[in-house]
């Protein structure tokens, strides 16, 4: 026989007593390992989804604000292994021909067979030869479409340049429709989940043969050559091989890209021996201007603009002599050979035709009227007065189908046969005369006047550029020289070609900002504590029954340390057995939790479904943790036992008795102190409650604090009561007093029992105070909706102000209906959804451009406000942003003043600073910056895609339907702002519900601990019961007394906890906001009471099942 042999014998002999310990350890392990399994499953699922989203692609090249040559994909293919797949990525609406179903804001992918070479499973590539559409599973399900059904796709025909810009062509967007059969539905393996943004939700996607889409979308892109081979997205990957590295891809791009990819061309001028550097976007970007000017090329900038009128005299003179709609060019006089070198900025040179028409002579005042584009594409007519300095000869006639050397290709203008066909996007209010038509026929857009470049840029310079061309003399450079020079001066990103490391981003995004393992560990806190307490108590209980054994071993000379180790070795084996069992249970726990997350608790994960995954490291870690916790509990629970002397242990028998209290002991004093503190806390709580408006902001937090005060006070009252009972003496009016006295005997144990029940009940019920009820969402401006009634989003940008007369006429909006409606548009830069609805980590949150004045007084702020966007200018150049508090804290894990990095339209890095923080708002998921900053950083991006609507609630639905109907082509959809806020709050509410459910489970388990306490108390007092029996107490009377005594503990604890919790949720119960909690907490409380009573009854019944008289005989 060895000591380890004793351990095994003990385990075998006392196996019944150990079953409870094993059960406790198993529960602890189940919860620990199960929570980690949930975390692993969420991670594995997000990783799988990320893999399905990007397939075998490693890198993406995109042109966020333009299009490049599809041939760039061929130029970038450096080896056979690397697949470079070009895509046309846009958004549109997809509907059934009968109009019964329409999906808005659908991701439209123009693809060819190369795309599917990078799919998760390339063998699943569909047959594109039939020129059919394919949809992903979500869109297929949404449309309820099956193979062979016809679908209508509607997309925007992209403009050459931003429709925000002046002279960008017709005001309304151009749409193209495609009507094709559905070839099939593509699953995840066939790239059905493809997307750039990390999100567990599958996007709505339609796949269109690229050539088909290009032919329709780019039919007007290159009218000279008729080329439609453009794309705005390239996917690079090496299926089955090593990942394509970003650096090597950048190097390849730097060699492969051409000026044509950036829409830059070098035109040979007809009338002058010079070249003109032009842009497809009409206005030269700032980087192109700088590249031209700082290069070795001798460039001359030109800015040509369409003016409304050139008139003789000042505007005040109201001259009837005016020339309508003419081109005016601005050039540097010193670099031209036909303008006076010293032409001043307030001087103008008229062409001979104009001079004759106006009958003007040198020195005359000449006024030039033109449209500038204001906010929301509002046309502002301005007039500038010049002094006529000189006249230039008539220009050379322009051959048919060609344009003047001075004038870029303005959409709707350059291709017009006559002035009557002009479609420049500006209202024609002056009469176009016959001689004007004649001039157009002969000279097209040849300028009728010239001003200095500085004067021209002051009038017509805008965010898209301040030049329409850069001239280079032929004698200074050849076309090749210019191409070469510009290519060396410009980077691909400046040309609008941006790389993104898809694999790296996908991997980073799959790291959820919320570690569900830790989250569920936190939620399971009560279960773990309850299991730990149960394990410790049961083990201590089992060990106390073996006091004599411990005493004997000590008496036999085995060291205290060794005996302790002996006992703990037994505990270790028990906890290992229990924890092992718990691992098996954990798989059930984890699967059940995931099942609930996909069902009952889906609000927390936005409807995601998860794969169950087991990570061996988590299992081992959780198992070790559970064993350690169980062992810790056992060690702590038995810490006092082996401190006793062998003699004492031998004499103790099966109980570890403590010294009985003496009358007049210090308990009386501590009871008075407890009472005083309790009264003080109650007073503080009442004062706090009285001073707080039940319906006011922050009421929940204050009342939760009040609840805590009352909870502490209640427990201190209980302590004082126990102290008083322990010290009282005199008459014994009834048996209840004896019960109270008994409870006071083990005041520590009684207080812990009642305290645990109280704290648990309070936390589980009280956290309901933070639940947010959808019916209580306020519509005030400082509420979470900001006072907006509707939120909307469109697939395509809307350029015009929907509040203005022109906008309402353009879209045929009902002015009567919208008379008291205001639509606030927001510019949108696509990015990751950083709201709590997205489980993925948001790397680059969506960016909104807002007009701060339209948001003043809206939403409640924890820091700063909307004016911060205007006034909080930082020296480091960072742009201030408004962010929702939840987004900042949980999704971005940042604080006020922290920076978030973005790339502007030309690939330049800039920082957005979290300067103002909104509380509990529907602004979650994005950053909001001043529209002016937005325009500076993304000048090429036009229009608005997000809308917030102020509308009387009674006609909210009508307004929503009307706007969506009139702007159906744009894929505009609205939903109530309260619904959006509720969707976000639902996440928070679900987390609270999970906490309450798991906390409640822990608490219910904790009530089992009550049974252990009861059994332990009763067994310790076996002799006492034996005596009582001998003195004539019946067993039923003794059981009744025992139940009364212990029921009191549980009910006091639950009563204190629930009362304090009810105060905590008073704002929900009685606040004007009417945030009524569900009945869940009441049911939970009822279950707690019932279970407490049940366990008490069961424990008493088991412990006092038979006569205790035998304990007297032992004497």
């Amino acid at each position: 026989m060895t000591l380890s042999g004793i351990v095994l014998r003990n385990l075998r002999h006392y196996w019944r007593q150990h079953l409870g310990v094993i059960a406790g350890a198993a529960i602890c392990s189940m919860v620990l390992v199960g929570a980690l399994m949930v975390g692993d499953s969420v991670k594995a699922t997000l990783k799988r989804l990320a893999g399905e989203r990007i397939g075998q692609a490693d890198i993406a090249l995109l042109a966020p604000d333009g299009f490049f040559r599809e041939a760039l994909s061929v130029d970038l293919s450096r080896d056979k292994e690397t697949v470079v797949a070009p895509l046309v990525v846009t958004r549109g609406n997809v509907s059934l021909p009968d109009g019964t179903r329409m999906a808005r804001n659908v991701q439209v992918l123009g693809v060819d067979e190369r795309f599917w070479k990078l799919a998760p499973n390339p063998d699943t590539a569909p047959d594109l030869s039939k020129d059919e559409f394919f949809v992903n599973a979500r869109l297929g399900s949404y449309l309820a479409a099956k193979q062979g059904d016809r679908l209508i796709l509607r997309v925007e025909e992209p403009g050459l340049f931003s429709r925000d810009a002046p002279l960008s062509g017709e005001r309304d967007n151009k749409f193209v429709s495609l009507n094709k059969e559905l070839g099939g539905v593509l699953g995840a393996e066939a790239f059905g989940r493809f997307g750039l943004q990390g999100n567990q939700r599958e996007p709505l996607t339609i796949f269109v043969p690229m050539k088909t889409l290009q032919k329709r979308m780019f039919r007007s892109f290159d009218e000279e050559s008729g080329n439609t081979g453009f794309a705005n997205f390239l996917l690079l990957g090496r299926p089955g091989g090593e990942a394509v590295q970003l650096e090597s891809a950048e190097a390849a791009l730097n060699e492969a890209w051409s000026l044509a990819d950036a829409g830059i061309s070098v035109k040979e001028l007809r009338d002058t021996p010079a070249w003109s550097i032009r842009s497809r976007q009409v206005f030269l970007s700032e980087s192109l201007r700088q590249a031209g000017e700082k290069s070795a090329l001798q460039t001359t900038g030109v800015l040509t603009y369409l003016v409304n009128a050139i008139a003789k005299g000042t505007p005040e003179a109201n001259s009837s002599a005016l020339i309508p709609y003419s081109m005016v060019s601005a050039v540097n006089p010193s670099k031209s050979n036909f303008l006076p070198n010293d032409l001043k900025d307030d001087e103008i040179v008229l062409g001979q035709w104009a001079s004759d028409d106006l009958n003007a002579s040198a020195g005359d005042a000449i006024s030039v009227s033109y449209f500038a584009v204001g906010e929301r594409r509002k046309l502002l007519e301005k007039t500038q007065t010049f002094r006529l300095r000189a006249t230039t000869p008539l220009p050379l006639k322009v051959p048919e189908d060609q344009e003047s050397d001075w004038t870029p290709l303005f959409p709707g203008l350059s291709d017009a046969e006559s002035c009557g066909e002009w479609d420049t996007g500006i209202p024609i209010k002056h009469e176009v005369r016959t001689k004007d038509e004649d001039y157009w026929d002969d000279y097209r857009g040849s300028p009728k006047a010239f001003v200095s470049l500085a004067a021209g840029q002051a009038m017509w310079g805008n965010r898209w550029g301040s030049l329409t061309g850069l001239r280079v003399a032929k004698e200074d450079a050849s076309r090749e020289d210019i191409n070469k020079t510009l290519r060396s001066e410009l980077t691909a990103s400046e040309a609008g070609l941006l790389f993104r490391s898809l694999r790296q981003d996908a991997s980073a995004a799959a790291e959820s900002p919320i570690d569900f393992g830790q989250l569920f560990l936190g939620f399971s806190f009560f279960v773990i504590v309850a299991a730990m307490a149960l394990t410790g108590m049961l083990f201590a209980f089992a060990m106390e029954q073996r006091n004599r054994q411990a005493g004997l071993l000590l008496a036999l000379g085995i060291s205290r340390k060794k005996v302790r180790r002996l006992f703990l070795a037994e505990g270790l084996l028990l906890s290992m057995a229990g924890s092992g069992l718990g691992v098996w249970l954990a798989t059930l726990y984890g699967q059940t939790t995931l099942h609930l997350l996909s069902g009952e608790w889906s609000g927390a994960v936005s409807g995601a479904t998860f794969d169950f995954a087991i990570n061996p490291a988590s299992v081992v870690g959780g198992l070790c943790g559970a064993v350690f916790i169980a062992l810790l509990a056992m060690g702590w629970a038995t810490r006092r036992q082996l401190r006793a002397e062998p003699r004492e242990l031998l004499a103790m028998g099966e109980t570890f008795a403590s010294t009985a209290p003496r009358s007049g002991s210090s308990k009386s004093g501590s009871g008075k102190v407890s009472m005083r503190i309790a009264l003080t806390l109650t007073f503080i709580g009442i004062v706090m409650a009285l001073l707080t408006d039940l319906s006011g902001p922050g009421a929940s937090m204050v009342f939760f604090g009040v609840g805590w005060c009352l909870l502490a006070a209640g427990l201190l009252f209980f302590r004082a009561k126990l102290s008083k009972a322990a010290c009282e003496s005199g008459t014994l009016p009834d048996a209840a007093t004896l019960s109270r006295r008994n409870a006071a005997r083990r005041s520590g144990r009684s207080l812990i029992t009642a305290g645990a029940m109280a704290a648990g009940a309070f936390l589980v019920v009280g956290t309901g105070a933070f639940r947010k009820d959808s019916s209580s969402i306020s519509s005030t401006r400082d509420s979470g909706t900001g006072g907006f009634a509707l939120v909307g989003e469109s697939a395509l940008p809307v350029y015009d102000d929907l509040n203005g007369l022109e906008g309402r006429e353009l879209y045929d909006l009902n002015s009567t209906l919208l008379s008291d409606v205001y639509v606030t548009p927001l510019r949108v830069r696509e990015g990751d959804d950083a709201s709590c609805l997205n489980l993925n980590k948001a790397l680059r949150p969506r960016l909104y451009g807002v007009k701060p004045s339209e948001f003043s007084d809206r939403f409640a702020f924890a820091e700063g406000n909307w004016s911060t966007l205007v006034h909080d200018v930082s020296e480091d150049g960072s742009i201030p942003a408004v962010v929702d508090q939840n987004t900042m804290l949980w999704a971005l894990k940042k604080g006020v003043g922290d920076l978030v990095e973005y790339q502007d339209g030309e690939g330049e890095i800039f920082q957005v600073r979290l300067a103002a923080v909104a509380k509990g708002s529907m602004l979650q998921g994005a950053l909001y910056i001043d529209e002016k900053h937005f325009e500076e950083k993304f000048p090429k991006q036009g229009g608005y895609r997000s809308f917030l609507v102020d509308s009387p609630s009674k006609k909210m639905n009508e307004v929503s339907g009307h706007l969506a109907d009139r702007l159906a082509n744009y894929g505009l959809e609205f939903r109530p702002a309260s619904e959006r806020l509720n969707e976000l709050q639902e996440v928070e509410n679900t987390y609270i519900a999970i906490f309450q459910a798991l906390g409640g489970l822990g608490l219910l388990l904790g009530t089992a601990g009550l049974a252990v306490v009861v059994i332990r108390n009763l067994l310790e007092r076996s002799k006492e019961f034996g005596l009582m029996e001998a003195l004539g107490y019946s067993m039923s009377a003794l059981r009744k007394h025992a139940i009364v005594e212990h029921r009191g503990l549980a009910l006091w604890g639950l009563g204190v906890g629930a009362s304090a919790a009810l105060v905590g949720i008073a704002p929900m119960l009685f606040g004007e906001a009417g945030q009524k909690p569900g009945t869940g907490f009441a049911w939970l409380f009822a279950a707690l009471v019932a279970l407490s009573l049940f366990w008490t009854w069961l424990a008493v019944s088991l412990s006092l099942r038979t006569s205790r008289l035998s304990t007297l005989r032992d004497e």
Binding site: P661, S729, L732, D734, E1029, A1030, S1034, L1112
Partner: protein, 229 residues
Amino acid sequence: MSAFVELSNVSKNYQSPGGEEGVEVFSGINLTLDEGESAAIVGPSGSGKSTLLNVVGVLDKPSGGKVMVDEREVTELGPEEAAAFRNQTVGFVFQAHHLLPQCTVLENVMVPALAGHGNLTGVSLRKRAEELLEEVGLSHRLHHRPAEISGGEKQRAAVARALVNEPKLLLADEPTGSLDKANADRLTELLATLHETRGLTLLAVTHSTAVASRMGAIYRLDAGKLVRD
């Protein structure tokens, strides 16, 4: 006049855990005690003295035979009746005092009355308890806890507790077993006095010759048989 305590052919066996063979503690026990009579049962350790006392006090049931106390067949009593019987008819004094540590001496004495079988409550109960404690010489210890008094005082308090419901039969199981000689003598004297003054029927199990000598009769229990000395 019939006997107050009458045991006829009483036997007690303990079944072994396997149930195959029983251990006989005693058998064929006949004992008669008239009301107000006192007797001591002596014998070697393990002879079954305490078991016999417990059978008389309805703390244990005999395996056979008949036990009559105060003209009642106590072996036939159900649990509730037995409890009431013990409470109202019998007073126990054990070798260990078994005072409730959470109650004062006065309260301990009052405890039997709280079982609800008698009519003694409130002020009258307290008064009675105080009188009893005065009678056993503990009037100065009314509000002390058991932990605060000596062993002899505890045992005297236990005697007072045994008398609170004015039982007709006082059973004492080694009442002086855990006391020193001085305290044992004092307790023996107290029991004898109470027997005389209150006319109690007293049956004591003891090893003490001093205690036994103060009883009216002495019975020896040995080898399962009871014989009067």
